[in-house]
Amino acid sequence: MPLIDDNSIANDDLLLRRVHRSQWIYDDNLGRSRPTSQAFDTIEMSVDVARIHTAAGRPILSALGAMPDFALTSFQAGLPRAHNLAVCPDPEPANDAHAVVFGKKGKPFIKEAYRTCVWVHSPDNVDPNWRQPA
């Protein structure tokens, strides 16, 4: 069932998404690490709203939980909306900051997301040696 965009999440609200270490890549063209495009390619993309964590007195890194193999990236809610995607609050019992970016993610959105997203907790913070062969 399609979810409806909800402007209780403002365009300048920061959305947080966990990125598993298997989806960290180094982009030579950009000269930096970033999430793979696949980190954003899902119909119902779960995110946390940073403002809700901070309003509750929690650090935004609490979006990582206790998961050691994850980095945390961020983008503003206005980005998916600019690509006609819905941003919807979806609080869960264990996470009142949970929200969903709903809709089929086209390549233009995915490319802009992976090129402009900002690490809140970067791969180098998680593992300084992550680019070395296993």
């Binding site: 989806q23 982009d27 063209n29 495009s37």
Partner: protein, 165 residues
């Protein structure tokens, strides 16, 4: 695996030369030709890549914490087959990443080329291509079966660029 393998055995593949000679030269020659070809065309990162794919194939369900599916063995094999088939000893190392629907994606982001190849099955891939130098028209998303010639051309070009300077 059959389609990917056969698709990459086109005229520009050094590996094809060795393999196509094999039936005509007997068992000993087959072995030597194959080993020679392997040594000339195998990328130095091949073993590292293979180990990495094994790691990805062992990810459990929900590896991304958002409900992703695990990667099937057939997809892992198809990805390895694809990478080995389109690469030479000078091809830059691609990234291989899991997708949330249990597939793998092979990516190059170097030399001005952004090339992403999603391994859909043992006989199909989809790819997107962007070249900031304009040698290739952008491809937003295209599915290929059997004939990977366009894809190979892009990989050969990025290999050539990587070895120019």
């Amino acid at each position: 695996m059959r389609a990917v393998t056969s698709a990459v055995f086109v005229e520009d593949s050094p590996r094809n030369v060795a393999l196509s000679r094999s039936p005509q030269k007997g068992v000993g020659a087959v072995s030597e030709a194959s080993v020679f070809s392997h040594a000339c065309t195998t990328p130095p990162w091949r073993d590292v890549m293979s180990k990495h794919v094994v790691v990805l194939a062992n990810l459990p369900d929900n590896w991304d914490s958002y409900g992703a599916s695990s990667v099937s063995l057939s997809i892992a094999n198809a990805a390895l087959c694809f990478v080995e088939s389109v690469s030479t000893s000078r091809t830059p190392q691609p990234a291989i990443v899991p997708t949330n629907d249990g597939k793998l994606q092979v990516e190059w982001h170097t030399q001005g080329i952004d090339l992403e190849v999603k391994i859909i099955s043992q006989s199909a891939v989809s790819y997107s291509l962007e070249d900031s130098r304009g040698d290739f028209p952008s491809v937003e998303e295209r599915e290929l079966r059997y004939d990977l010639t366009d894809l190979q051309r892009a990989i050969m070009r990025l290999t050539a660029r990587a070895n120019v300077g």
